[in-house]
C-alpha cells in the first residue's frame, strides 16, 4: 500500500479536528530557521523506525537546526523536513485505525488498536492491545468509544480524540491511520505527536488527488522493455498490459521462457505449473487482459519476444478468455512475421473464436521461420510445458522485415495505427475482402480507395490485415509503431 508521510497525514487529521503538535514543513532550507528546541523529522513516504535510522533528530541550538535540516533534506526520497515543536509529555498513548476484513462469523468494518502504555515496542505486543471494532457505515460516536475505554484515565478526552481519528480514517478511505504517540500535555490536552497513513491509490477521490500525490521513487529500476510497455499502455490505455522482467539471471540448465499470460487465471495456472519446477525459468511476469485490442496484444508481444535470453514463448490464458482469440491469434501471427528474432511458441487459445484462432495459426505455421505448437484449451499449461524442450532454441532465428510501401489510407489515434493500402495488389479496383470482414463497419470502399467510416470505431482487432494477407492479395496492411527499440 502507498504510504503518506507525516506532514501529509497531519493535513488529513487537521481537517477532521484532531489536535496536533505544532510543526512547520520545510521542503527547502528556510531563510528564517525555526526556534529551538525542535524535533527535525525527515519526510520519506513509507519510512518507519525513523529515530533509529537518524531520520528524526532533536535540535537544541540554531546550529543543530541548520545542520540537521541540511542533512535530512539531502536524504534519498526525502520530500522535506517537519520541524516539530518540542513539548513536555505527561503521558503517552498509542492508537491506530485499521481495516477489519471480517470472516465467516463476523462482519468486516474498522478496528481501533489502542494501548494505554504508548507505542514503544508496539509490534511485539499487538495481542495485548485494546481492540475496538466499529462500523464504517455507522461510525462510532465519542460516547460509543468512551464505553470501550472503561478504566483508562482521561477517557472522555481520549474518546473524543479517537472519534476524530475514525472520522479521518473513514473520510479519506484509508487502510491504516496511526498516531504514535498521542501525548497528554500538562494542561490535560491530547495531541498527536507523530502520525502516518496508508491508502489504496484507487480509493483516492479526485477532490483529494493532490493531497495524496506521492512522488514516485527517485530510484527507477525499470528495464528498457518495461518502459516500452509502460508507453504502450499510455498510448493505448484500454485493457491491462502488464510486463515485468525477472531480475534474476537465467539459471544454468533451465529453459528460459518468455511468457504472455492472459488474465489472473492464466497467471495462476502458470504459477501452479512452474512454481515447483527448477527446469523452467520464467523470464517475465505478464498479464494481458481486460478487453485489450489486438494492436496492443501485438505491441506487448513484440516486447515480450524481445527478451534476448528467451528460448521459447508460451501464451496462455485461463482457457476461457474474454479477449476474442482470433484477434489475439492475428496479433501473434503479425508479431512472428515482423519480429527480427521471432521465438518458437506454445500457444493455447481458449475463448470466443478459439477454433478460428487455431485454424489461423495452423494455416500460417509453415510460412513462419520458427516452430509453433497450438493447443486447445482443454490442454492445460501443466501439460503444455512437456513440449517446451522440443521447440526451445539456443540460437534465435534472425529475419528481416520492412513494411511494404503503399499509400497511407488513414491513421487513427486510439488505438494508434496507420492503415496502408497497396493499390498495385488490386489492379482491377475490386472491393477488397477485408472491407466486409471489419466487425464494426469501420472500413469502407469509396472511389476505389479504402477509407474510414466516421460513424464507426476501429477496435484494433487486426482482422482486416489477416483477411487481406490470407484470403486477399495483401491490399491492406497495418503499421503499428513501437515506442522504442525491440527485436
Amino acid at each position: 500500500m502507498p504510504a503518506l508521510p507525516e506532514y501529509k497525514t497531519r493535513v488529513l487529521l487537521e481537517n477532521h479536528g484532531v489536535p496536533l503538535v505544532p510543526a512547520v514543513f520545510h521542503n527547502v532550507m528556510p531563510e528564517i530557521l525555526p526556534e529551538p528546541v525542535v524535533f527535525l523529522k525527515a519526510q520519506i513516504p513509507g519510512a518507519t523506525s525513523r529515530a533509529g535510522r537518524g531520520l528524526v533528530r532533536k535540535a537544541s541550538t540554531t546550529e543543530e537546526i541548520s545542520n540537521g535540516l541540511a542533512e535530512l533534506l539531502a536524504e534519498e526520497n526525502c520530500q522535506g523536513v517537519l520541524a516539530a515543536q518540542a513539548v513536555d509529555i505527561k503521558k503517552e498513548y498509542y492508537a491506530a485505525c485499521l481495516l477489519d476484513f471480517g470472516d465467516g462469523e463476523n462482519l468486516p468494518g474498522g478496528v481501533i488498536l489502542f494501548s494505554p502504555d504508548g507505542g514503544t515496542g508496539i509490534e511485539g505486543r499487538t495481542d495485548s492491545l485494546l481492540k475496538i471494532h466499529f462500523s464504517l457505515l455507522n461510525p462510532p460516536s465519542g460516547n460509543d468509544i468512551e464505553k470501550e475505554l472503561e478504566g483508562i484515565p482521561n477517557s472522555p478526552e481520549l474518546a473524543d480524540f479517537l472519534q476524530k481519528m475514525t472520522s479521518t480514517f473513514i473520510g479519506y478511505k484509508l487502510t491504516v491511520l496511526e498516531t504514535n504517540p498521542i501525548a497528554v500535555l500538562e494542561d490535560g490536552s491530547h495531541i498527536a505527536v507523530d502520525c502516518r497513513a496508508e491508502f489504496e491509490k484507487h480509493a483516492v477521490s479526485k477532490k483529494h488527488a493532490e493531497l495524496f500525490k506521492v512522488p514516485e521513487s527517485t530510484v527507477d529500476d525499470s528495464t528498457p522493455l518495461e518502459k516500452i510497455v509502460e508507453t504502450i499502455n499510455a498510448m493505448d490505455p484500454a485493457g491491462t498490459g502488464f510486463f515485468r522482467a525477472s531480475r534474476e539471471k537465467v539459471p544454468v540448465g533451465t529453459i528460459a521462457v518468455a511468457t504472455n499470460l492472459c488474465g489472473g487465471g492464466g497467471k495462476m495456472l502458470w504459477e501452479m505449473t512452474t512454481g515447483g519446477r527448477n527446469d523452467i525459468f520464467s523470464l517475465n511476469e505478464s498479464d494481458t487482459s481486460g478487453g485489450l485490442s489486438g494492436f496492443k496484444s501485438y505491441r506487448i508481444l513484440r516486447a515480450i519476444m524481445s527478451q534476448p535470453e528467451a528460448q521459447v514463448l508460451i501464451l496462455t490464458g485461463s482457457g476461457m478468455a474474454f479477449q476474442n482469440q482470433y484477434h489475439l491469434a492475428s496479433a501473434v501471427w503479425k508479431a512472428l512475421r515482423e519480429s527480427a528474432t521471432p521465438l518458437p511458441c506454445l500457444l493455447r487459445f481458449g475463448g470466443t473464436d478459439q477454433e478460428k484462432a487455431m485454424e489461423l495459426m495452423n494455416t500460417v505455421a509453415e510460412t513462419l521461420q520458427v516452430q509453433i505448437k497450438t493447443f486447445r484449451p482443454e490442454i492445460f499449461p501443466n501439460a503444455m510445458v512437456e513440449h517446451l524442450s522440443d521447440i526451445a532454441t539456443d540460437r534465435r532465428i534472425k529475419q528481416e522485415f520492412s513494411p511494404e510501401a503503399g499509400e497511407v489510407a488513414f491513421e487513427i489515434d486510439t488505438p494508434p495505427a496507420r492503415f496502408v493500402y497497396h493499390p498495385e495488389k488490386n489492379p482491377d479496383n475490386i472491393e477488397p475482402l477485408c472491407i466486409n470482414e471489419c466487425p464494426t463497419g469501420f472500413l469502407q470502399w469509396n472511389n476505389n480507395r479504402i477509407t474510414s467510416n466516421p460513424e464507426a470505431k476501429c477496435i484494433g482487432c487486426l482482422v482486416c490485415e489477416t483477411v487481406s494477407l490470407l484470403r486477399g492479395n495483401g491490399e491492406l496492411t497495418i503499421e503499428l509503431d513501437l515506442p522504442g527499440e525491440v527485436l
Partner: protein, 320 residues
C-alpha cells in the same frame, strides 16, 4: 425447477435492473444477458431517465425504476468503481435483494460498507470484481461467456456447481464440465477422455470475485449449492488470502455442507504480502497461506487437487 438464486436469496425468477445501461459496457453486457435468457426489466443512469436502450426503459434512480416496475428483484452494475457504493446503496434502499457488482478497483472501505449495508437490508451482493454468475436454468448476470451464443454453447445443464475467486477460471471450470470427451489426466495416471458424451454438466457458476472483501463468499455460495437439488458435486477455485477457505472447511467439518467438494487451490508459491493474481489473494496471516488452507480443507474431507486439470476427473469420480 428453481435456479441457484432461489437458494441464495429466495428469488425464483430474476427480474433485473441494469445500472449503467447507457454506457458501452452496459449496453453490450445487457445484450449478452438478454440473449442468454435473462429478463431485463429496466436500466438506470443518472440524468438519462426517459431514454430507452434496445427497448429497455431507463430511469434516473433505482427507486424510480422499482416504483415503475415493482417486479424488479435483482440488479447488475456496469458503473465505474468509484461510483459503485452509491449505486449499490441506491439499489438496496429500493429493496433490491440480489446485486452483481462487476467493477474492479473498488476501494476496500466501499466494499466493507456495501457488505454492512447488505447485512442490514438482507440483500446479497456478488462481487465486487466479479465476472458474474450463470445458471443453466436460463439466466446470467455480468459477462460470463462474452457472447450469448458462446455462453449457450458452453454452459449446459448438469450436476456440477462451480464457485470461483477468478473470473477466467469461473468460466473455464464451468464450461469444461460441459464438454463431451474432455481430455485430462485420469486417476490411473493415463491421459485421455474423462467421460464420453455424458458430460457432468453445470447447475450454475458463481464468481465470488477476486477482492479482499467479497459480498457473497465461497461458503455462502456453497450453502446455496448444498440446497440446490440439481447440484451433486462442487468444483471450486480457491486461493490464498481472506478466510473464505477456512470458513468453508469449518462448515464442511460441521456437516453443514455434505455434497462432495473438489478444490483447485492457487497460490502455492505466493509469498506473504504479495498479491500474485488477485488483490484478495494477498496473505495477511498464517491462516491465509496455501499450506494452512490446504490442510484445513483436506482435514474437512475436501479433495484438493495438485494439477489444475485434475479437477475434472475428481468431480467425475464423485458422480460415479
Amino acid at each position: 425447477m428453481a435456479g441457484i438464486l432461489k437458494y441464495l436469496c429466495d428469488i425464483d425468477t430474476p427480474e433485473v435492473l441494469v445500472f449503467g445501461i447507457t454506457g458501452r459496457q452496459g449496453k453490450s453486457r445487457s445484450r449478452l444477458m438478454r440473449g442468454f435468457g435473462t429478463k431485463i426489466v429496466a436500466g438506470t443512469t443518472p440524468g438519462k431517465g426517459g431514454q430507452e436502450v434496445d427497448g429497455v426503459p431507463v430511469y434516473n434512480t433505482a427507486s424510480d425504476a422499482v416504483s415503475a416496475h415493482p417486479e424488479i428483484n435483482s440488479a447488475v452494475f456496469f458503473v465505474p468503481a468509484g461510483a459503485i457504493a452509491k449505486a449499490a446503496f441506491d439499489a438496496m434502499d429500493a429493496g433490491i435483494k440480489f446485486l452483481v457488482l462487476t467493477a474492479d478497483g473498488v476501494a476496500t472501505q466501499d466494499s466493507i460498507k456495501i457488505k454492512e449495508k447488505a447485512h442490514e437490508t438482507g440483500a446479497k451482493c456478488l462481487g465486487p470484481n466479479t465476472v458474474g454468475m450463470l445458471d443453466t436454468h436460463g439466466y446470467l448476470f455480468g459477462l460470463i461467456g462474452g457472447k450469448a451464443s458462446w455462453a449457450k454453447k458452453n454452459y449446459l445443464p448438469g450436476k456440477v456447481g462451480v464457485i470461483s475467486r477468478s473470473g477466467g477460471l469461473s468460466q473455464l471450470l464451468a464450461a469444461f464440465h460441459c464438454r463431451p470427451y474432455l481430455p485430462g489426466p485420469r486417476p490411473d495416471g493415463s491421459f485421455g477422455p474423462l467421460w464420453k458424451e455424458d458430460y457432468p454438466g453445470l447447475s450454475a457458476v458463481l464468481c465470488v470475485g477476486g477482492d479482499p472483501v467479497p459480498g457473497i463468499t465461497l461458503l455462502d455460495a456453497a450453502r446455496a449449492f448444498e440446497a440446490d437439488p440439481r447440484t451433486r458435486v462442487m468444483a471450486i477455485y480457491a486461493e490464498t488470502g481472506t478466510t473464505q477457505e477456512n470458513d468453508l472447511a469449518r462448515a464442511i467439518e460441521n456437516a453443514e455442507i455434505n455434497n462432495p467438494v473438489v478444490v483447485i487451490l492457487g497460490g502455492k508459491y505466493t509469498e506473504a504480502g504479495v498479491a500474485q493474481s488477485h488483490a484478495g489473494a494477498m496473505i495477511r496471516n498464517e491462516n491465509e497461506t496455501y499450506a494452512a488452507k490446504k490442510q484445513a480443507l483436506e482435514n474437512a474431507g475436501v479433495k484438493v487437487v495438485d494439477r489444475p486439470d485434475s479437477v475434472f476427473a475428481a468431480t467425475a469420480e464423485f458422480l460415479k
